[in-house]
């Protein structure tokens, strides 16, 4: 929450100066007349959506908290996440060690905080990659139709025919056990979702009147696709993206859990849960529960954020 509020406060000055933003955007200020409906900036819009929907407010606050932890967390943690100290192994949560210590005496809280950056970057990069690749494939398939559409669609169906986690396992095992390969594997298994979504959104609007109006206005096929059809597919894409961020984190953690992907001693939520699981039977629950709860919270945040993000990119939601 502390991290959420500075962001929202810093958004206020941007909202206060519509006149200058309007000018630089190339929006009309005919005769210097004042604009009756100020177009709120992205941050201002975010704020008004968050206010309208308390769940979105919670989601955005948690999201900013996660981002802040990922950025500044590693430099703020009380202990070195890799430093082992056998004398304090397996201590329960205390004022000294908030989340307790693990079997090597490492501070679980520090490890959970430091892992945020790695887990978030894996999922965000994987989602961005699959978003870009899926959008390009889906947009071309939906716009061109014909054999190109058939080809892209069948390739996507082929990917979907595999159990996705097993496919990801196979890719990582074949390409080698590195972080980049986890990202690629996660991206590849998510491409079909974006490609299918974009394809249908583009197909629906391809013959719409406003696309025809764009042709009449001298817009080429590429410009209509890029500046008319794709932006209109953004709102459902945002929902898909936020759900996918959650899946991607789970996928990365899952790969690490079964020993593919991030390798110990690197702090990562999935490995921590995997390693901690051995100790639950002997009563040392904190090893697995804290990274697990954090993981759950991150997925929960991304899933909650979908509706808010959709409203953010949909001008029809503006009053």
């Amino acid at each position: 929450m502390q991290h959420g509020s500075p962001d929202s406060v810093s958004s206020l000055p941007q909202r206060e100066i519509p006149a200058t933003t309007v000018n630089t955007d190339g929006k009309p200020v005919a005769g210097g007349a004042s604009i009756a409906v100020p177009q709120s900036s992205g941050m201002g819009q975010l704020w008004s959506i968050a206010c309208a929907n308390p769940l979105s407010l919670v989601a955005f606050a948690l999201f900013f908290l996660l981002i802040a932890v990922a950025i500044v967390g590693p430099s703020l943690v009380p202990y070195d996440p890799l430093a082992s100290n056998a004398s304090i192994a397996l201590q329960p949560p205390s004022a000294e060690h908030w989340f307790g210590t693990d079997n090597l005496g490492r501070d679980v809280f520090s490890r959970v905080v430091v892992a945020t950056r790695l887990d978030l970057s894996i999922s965000v990069m994987a989602v961005v990659l699959s978003l870009v690749a899926g959008s390009v494939l889906g947009a071309i398939a939906g716009y061109a139709g014909g054999w190109l559409d058939a080809l892209v669609s069948r390739v996507m169906d082929t990917i979907m025919a595999f159990p996705l986690f097993v496919l990801a396992m196979g890719i990582v095992a074949a390409l080698g056990n590195t972080i980049e390969n986890i990202i690629y594997a996660t991206a590849i298994i998510n491409i079909p979702f974006y490609a299918r979504l974009i394809r249908s959104e583009v197909r629906i609007r391809r013959n719409s009147t406003f696309a025809q109006a764009a042709f009449i206005s001298g817009m080429s096929h590429w410009r209509v696709l890029l500046f008319t059809l794709l932006p209109n597919a953004l709102p459902p894409m945002m929902v898909q993206m936020s759900l996918n961020l959650g899946w991607a984190i789970l996928n990365a953690a899952g790969l690490s859990f079964i020993g593919l992907g991030v390798r110990p001693p690197t702090p990562e939520w999935g490995i921590m849960v995997a390693e901690g699981a051995n100790f639950i039977v002997s009563g040392e629950w904190w090893l697995a529960v804290f990274p697990g709860v954090t993981l759950m919270l991150a997925v929960f945040t991304f899933n909650l954020m979908g509706d808010g993000l959709r409203d953010l990119v949909d001008p029809r939601q503006r009053q």
Binding site: K27, Q212, I216, S217, S220, H221, R223, N232, P315
Partner: protein
């Protein structure tokens, strides 16, 4: 009150709505959609409720059957049907009244029918649900009902699915459904909106004949004053949820008391009215006088288009030829499927032609470019693109929902000119002034604009690059009459000011009569009649043109022939002439 069934007996109303209030809870708070509404439908009469969009006319009808959307509720007043206050009934008691006592006919017949059940079965379902007949006899009864609504071959149509029937047929099924249980009150919500004019005519005739035969009471909700006056005993005008004025149609439309009713009557196009007379006297500007048509700008020769489908080849347009002169307005009239929209799309070069040429003439009358030879997939980047622009039917759908009004108007300037940002901004401001769009609305999104404002944006965009030819595809079909009046005047002004040539596509003969110099009537892809507008409208030669003209509902007092037909229509069938 003035409709007496017997000798001076006090009349009990079939439906009595008093002090009705309906509220909707929206994101922006409570909206009072119907305010203190008073309506009364005497037994055996037809009440017309007219008003523009947002007037609350449909909401009041839905309130009667308590079919309001989840966020709406009745907050006050009473709705008495035969002395029973419907608002006090439980939902099971209401279920008995809905369909059996009060039936409803919906606006979009295709959407009102279940797409995966055959139409006959749907009628049978209603009969069984209200225990009119046993399941075993339901089929025979449903077929009988289909015959009553004049569906030919009812026996086999019983098994037809809604998608296999035309719009008019679907509405006939809708009527059969509504009348299945012999209700005493029928509520028809815009029953013929979206249907062709000749279909509208036959559907309305059928519906009203059945209503009168069965001595039912009915409420006809419509935006069309002429339609209401043709079929109703009494008409109520609504605006913003309030009752404005009521009376018998002749009296109401010939001598309106309220200013709003007068404005509506004025704005309704009818025979012998000019486009300027649609607006109140105060708003009738002394517009620029239109110059006589000049040289030929566009010459269409032997244009044809066929569509191939699995079921065969359809000739949408057959051998169409016409010339369009500078500053001329050529009307293209026809019903759905006549090929008029296909023609519009071909001339606007959004659709490829199958045969024929579309010649665009420049300053030199001997030189032309045949734009039909350029594939439509490439025409958008062609240097002739700016010379032919188009105004689309639904102004809302034709603006990218992510574009502001400014961006929409700017679009052709970006695509078709080399103007810099400052130039474009100045031009958009100029265009907004030209079409009468206030400057401060320019950075609104389409959903933040009213229908009339969207139409202005649409027109400003079409004239932005100063085209020679403007193709207008039903530019006012989706607008309320009062807004249509303003937009038609704007179009007339623009043509006079800019010397534009219009190809004006419409199904509304009155609109075409007011705006166009010449008119072509299309039927099944062919022009059946063409010529000077006045001549075609006053002395039509072709039977189809005559049929179209006679199907147009007219306001009372405008045309004696239609007045006579009206009074005949209002008589009980036994007394008809």
């Amino acid at each position: 009150m003035n409709m007496m069934t017997g000798a001076g007996q006090p009349q009990v109303a079939a439906l009595d709505i008093s002090k009705l209030d309906v509220n909707f809870t929206t994101r922006r708070g409570e909206v009072n959609a119907v305010k203190q509404l008073e309506l009364s439908v005497p037994r055996g009469t037809v009440l017309g409720v007219v008003g523009e969009s947002g007037s609350g006319k449909s909401v009041s009808a839905y309130a009667v059957l308590q079919l309001l959307e989840a966020n709406g509720r009745v907050t006050g007043g009473s709705i008495c049907f035969d002395g029973i206050n419907l608002l006090e009934l439980s939902s099971t008691e209401l279920k008995d009244i809905r369909g059996r006592e009060i039936a409803m006919i919906f606006q979009n017949p295709r959407a009102a029918l279940n797409p995966v059940r055959s139409v006959g079965r749907q009628i049978a379902d209603v009969l069984v649900a209200h225990s009119r007949v046993a399941r075993s006899q339901s089929k025979a009864k449903a077929v009988e009902l289909l015959q009553q609504v004049e569906i030919r071959d009812a026996e086999s149509r019983y098994h037809a699915y809604p998608f296999e029937l035309s719009g008019g047929m679907c509405q006939r099924v809708g009527i059969a459904l509504a009348l299945a249980c012999e209700p005493r009150l029928l509520i028809a919500d815009e029953p013929t909106t979206g249907l062709d004019i000749t279909t509208q005519n036959s559907v309305m005739e059928l519906m009203m004949t059945l209503v009168r035969q069965r001595q039912m009471s009915a409420i006809l909700i419509t935006h069309d004053l002429a339609l209401a006056s043709a079929y109703c005993d009494e008409v109520v005008v609504m605006r913003d949820g309030r009752r404005i004025e009521s009376g018998r149609p002749e009296q109401l439309f010939n001598h309106p008391v309220d200013a709003y009713t007068r404005k509506l009557v004025d704005a309704t196009p009818h025979k012998g009215k000019s486009v300027r007379q649609l607006l109140p006297a105060a708003q009738q500007q002394s517009a620029v006088v239109k110059a006589a048509p000049g040289e030929v700008v566009l010459s269409v020769k032997h244009l044809a288009r066929e569509f191939r489908s699995a079921s065969g080849t359809v000739q949408a347009v057959k051998d169409l030829s016409f010339d369009l002169r500078k500053g001329e307005c050529l009307g293209l009239v026809g019903e759905s499927g006549s090929g008029k929209s296909t023609t519009a799309l071909m001339v606007a070069r959004l659709l490829d032609t199958s045969a024929g040429s579309i010649q665009l003439f420049g300053d030199n009358p001997q030189e032309y470019v045949d734009i039909a030879t350029i594939p439509s997939a490439k025409f958008m980047r062609h240097d002739q693109r700016a010379r032919v622009q188009m105004v689309f039917q639904d102004a809302g759908d034709s603006i990218d929902p992510r574009h502001t009004a400014f961006q929409a108007i700017e679009q052709p300037l970006r695509g078709l000119t080399r103007q810099g940002r400052a130039q474009r901004r100045a031009r958009v401001a100029e265009l907004a002034d030209l079409v009468g769009l206030p400057q401060h609305l320019l950075n609104r999104f389409p959903h933040q604009l009213s229908g009339g404002q969207r139409a202005r944006v649409n027109i400003a965009r079409a004239v932005a690059v100063s085209p020679d030819v403007l193709v207008l595809d039903e530019p006012t079909a989706a607008l309320d009459v009062s807004i249509q009046a303003v937009v038609l005047n704007l179009l007339a002004d623009l043509q006079a000011q800019l010397g534009l040539s219009y190809l004006f596509i419409s199904h509304d003969l009155y609109v075409v009569r007011m705006l166009c110099d010449r008119v072509m009537v299309m039927c099944n892809g062919e022009v059946v009649e063409s010529g000077d507008t006045g001549q075609v409208m006053n002395s039509p030669v072709h039977a189809y043109t005559r049929q179209l003209l006679s199907a147009m509902p007219a306001l009372p007092g405008v045309d004696e022939a239609t007045d006579a037909a009206r009074s005949n229509r209002l008589r009980p069938p036994s007394l008809r002439l």
